[in-house]
């Protein structure tokens, strides 16, 4: 018992409509690097948030011990005092302050006059950095550092707060290939200091290189813990995906028609590389891949938000080599973006005003909006999608997540698009609404709309797609027909495991 740094027993966490964590038990021994793996939505982030004191577990569920002492964190500060440091993907650094100031931000050393002492600060900040074996100039401003260096500063900051358990949320996701070795060195240095590391990553190669043990999470449950030396990759993959595909998806009766949109060697920035595909009338084309492999950027490019560097999109016989959102709307493309709150909706506006935003031009006679026609269109969408509201003039910020997502969808359906791009269409919405969304997508496809569905949830990809593209590093790693596709075949393409 006494050599456990972190112990969770029967921890559960329920959100409205979702059981994010279901009786989780999980322990890390002192000084180990413990990988936490699982698909998107498996519950990793929720687990981190509970360990870090960001949110409490369900009342009365289980217990958590840190170095043998039972804890109930009410705030991140309490978790910090108990010796837990969290390195999120988004760093909490002050870009215009120096490295030393960032490391010591909450405990700046002062001299006798009560002024910040630069000398003492340099001494105090040097300690954690040398522990990590990373000499970074303490006087540089954080904004001038590389991402990898910023990460080191973040870790040093946690160390200076006496973190004994370091939780790292996909630390490698933000790093370039050659920076990875530095991260591993830092991890080894932490281990040498007896610090426990909980390492979250998708990338199996990394886990096999650096971790001592791995715990697999899936659908909010612990599938098991493996000792890495005794495990192999296929066992781990099987544990990650070993879910029975629930019979929850509406069956496809689609008659797939001619191509409605064709992409040829599309390139944009670094994350859309040589993408070619055809999307057919009435087809749901799934785009799978691990998060951050260019799926979101592909959506942005197809909708004209990111600029096309090379290649073309062919829609309606028109060859399009440069695109802006206005043109995209005009030629019949709609985009339901990933983050509806920041990209899909104007929260301060009403349901009505959000839905008709892209079609104001059609609703206008002599500059005036045809109120009756507008109400008709909005009502029709609200009824078809069963948006729960008493009033079309209700501000969308007062709607539930699921209803907000429906408003974004309604907004694009009102344009009667030929192609609709759905980026993570069911993220963060409850199971019931998910089912509704799936049915809506099916009936849209049956009416002949071409649907490009980007999703990192494999069951959704498998259940909904007529055909699947798998993306890796901004390119298409492979295409799978509905019959060929399994979670394993998709994951293999996505990870690059042959």
């Amino acid at each position: 018992m006494s050599d456990d740094a972190l112990e969770l027993e029967n921890i559960s966490k329920t959100f409205p409509g979702v059981r994010a964590l279901d009786n989780i038990s999980f322990r890390c021994t002192v000084g180990e690097i413990h990988a936490l793996v699982g698909e998107n939505g498996a519950g990793k982030s929720t687990l981190i948030n509970i360990i870090a004191g960001v949110m409490p577990p369900d009342h009365g569920s289980g217990s958590m011990r840190v170095f043998g002492k039972e804890v109930k964190f009410r705030s991140p500060a309490e978790a910090q005092r108990a010796g837990i440091g969290v390195i999120y993907q988004e760093f909490n650094l002050l870009p215009w302050l120096t490295v030393a100031e960032n490391i010591l931000v909450s405990q700046l050393p002062v001299n006798k006059l009560g002024l910040v002492s630069r000398r003492k600060m340099a001494e105090a900040a040097r300690g954690p950095l040398s522990t990590l074996g990373m000499p970074i100039d303490l006087t540089l401003k954080v904004i001038d550092l590389s991402v990898a260096e910023q990460q080191v500063v973040e870790i040093a900051k946690a160390l200076s707060l006496n973190a004994r358990i370091m939780i790292m949320d996909e630390p490698s996701a933000v790093l370039a290939g050659h920076e990875l070795e530095n991260l591993f060195n830092v991890l080894r240095a932490l281990k040498a200091q007896g610090i426990t590391v909980v390492y979250i990553s998708h990338r199996l190669d990394e886990i096999f290189e650096i971790a001592d043990r791995a715990t697999v999470l899936k659908d909010g449950k612990v599938m098991g813990t493996l000792t890495i030396k005794e495990a192999d990759k296929s066992t781990l993959i099987r544990m990650m995906i070993g879910r029975s595909l629930e019979d929850t998806f509406p069956g496809s009766k689609n008659q797939v028609g001619e191509a409605v949109m064709t992409c040829r060697n599309l390139n944009s920035g670094k994350k859309v590389r040589n993408i070619s595909f055809e999307l057919h009338k009435g087809e749901i084309l799934g785009v799978a891949g691990l998060v951050g492999n260019g799926q979101a950027e592909l959506a942005r490019t197809l909708f004209g938000i990111d600029q096309i560097d090379a290649g073309e999109i062919i829609i309606d016989g028109k060859h399009i080599k440069s695109l802006d959102p206005q043109t995209a709307v005009d030629i019949g493309i709609g985009l339901v973006p990933e983050d509806r709150k920041t990209q899909g909706l104007v929260l301060s506006l009403s349901i009505r005003k959000n839905i008709t935003m892209p079609i104001l031009g059609n609703l206008t006679r002599m500059g005036m909006i045809d109120n009756q026609r507008e109400t008709g269109i909005v009502n029709q969408q609200v009824e078809a999608l069963e948006i729960k509201t008493h009033n079309l003039d209700q501000e969308v910020q007062n709607l539930s997540g699921g209803n907000q997502q429906k408003v974004v969808l309604a907004k694009w359906l009102s344009t009667q698009p030929k192609v609709i791009i759905l980026d993570e269409p069911t993220r963060g919405i409850d199971v019931g609404t998910k089912m509704e969304m799936y049915n809506i997508m099916r009936s849209l496809a049956e009416k002949g709309t071409g649907i490009l569905m980007i999703s990192s949830e494999l069951p959704e990809i498998l259940g909904m797609s007529d055909r699947i593209l798998v993306m890796r590093d901004g390119a298409i790693a492979g295409e799978l027909s509905k019959d060929e596709a399994t979670e394993e075949s998709i994951l293999r393409l996505a990870i690059g495991e042959e």
Binding site: Q326, T342, Q343, G344, V346, L347, L349, G367, M368, N398
Partner: protein, 324 residues
Amino acid sequence: MATMVESKTSSKIQFQRAVSENSLVLTIWGVVLIMMIVASIVSPDFRSTGNMINLLKQATIPGILAIAQTILILSGAIDLSMGAVVTFTSLITAGLMDSREELVLPIVVLGLFIGTGIGFIHGLLTTRARLEPFIVTLGTYSIILGIGYWYTTVPVGGIASSLSANLYYGQLGPIPKPIFYFVGIFILAYIMLNYTRFGRSLYAVGGKPEVARKSGLNVDRIKLLRFTLAGFLVAIASVIATARMGIGDPLAGQGMELDAITATVIGGISLYGGRGSLIGTLAGILILGLINNIMVMLDVNMFYQQLIKGTIVLLAVAIYKQRN
């Protein structure tokens, strides 16, 4: 508010909803009403028709500026240069005109051109050069005043008396002309904001320009137009103000931009953009006018006016914070 089943929506429930959804605007109009009642009790003169007409007449220039400011703030911008434009227009037009009757038409056109042109430049600087409206208008505020004071620092020239008489001091029946301008502009702006595509686009751009762009709106054009339109309204206010003064006055527009912002804020327009109603701004304009009017009636020192204005702004914003 909980969602309810639609089957039996009684008119009572509808009324309650209407109240709760417009509680902000109702609150602010409640304040207007209370101020009027209190004023009627303290000073019988207040109730007189003459005083009411006077109240509205005096609200014309700040009112038009507040409407312009509302259009900008709603759509996520602001204009700090309004007062400077009023001053500048007053100096240049009165200076050039020098009371010559034959110059009435060209001078009015010039006056309208100055304000509209400056608005257009604001639009260009915020879209082409991608500068923040706050910074742009802070800069032009200083530049415009600088040029004006370079021209003269003392009262100058004169406005042809026929212009002053017709534009500001004239009446239609019992009602002074300025009230017609104010009411007319208010109605047009109200229709524009609530019933036209452009008005709707302003709310969208103010609420979230990214989303507006991704919904196919031409955000840059909307931003250019809103500044030009606001500039045109400022120009109208400038010409009326000049007609009222009768001379070029270096202090003509002093502080006017701040009063316009004050009225807008009291009216419940969010400084973050995208939320608020012109009806609220109207209440804001009336509240400022009432403070002034009551203070003059009661012969209270002008300094108290500033004090009360500031207090009301802080109270209003604190109340709105609670509601959202």
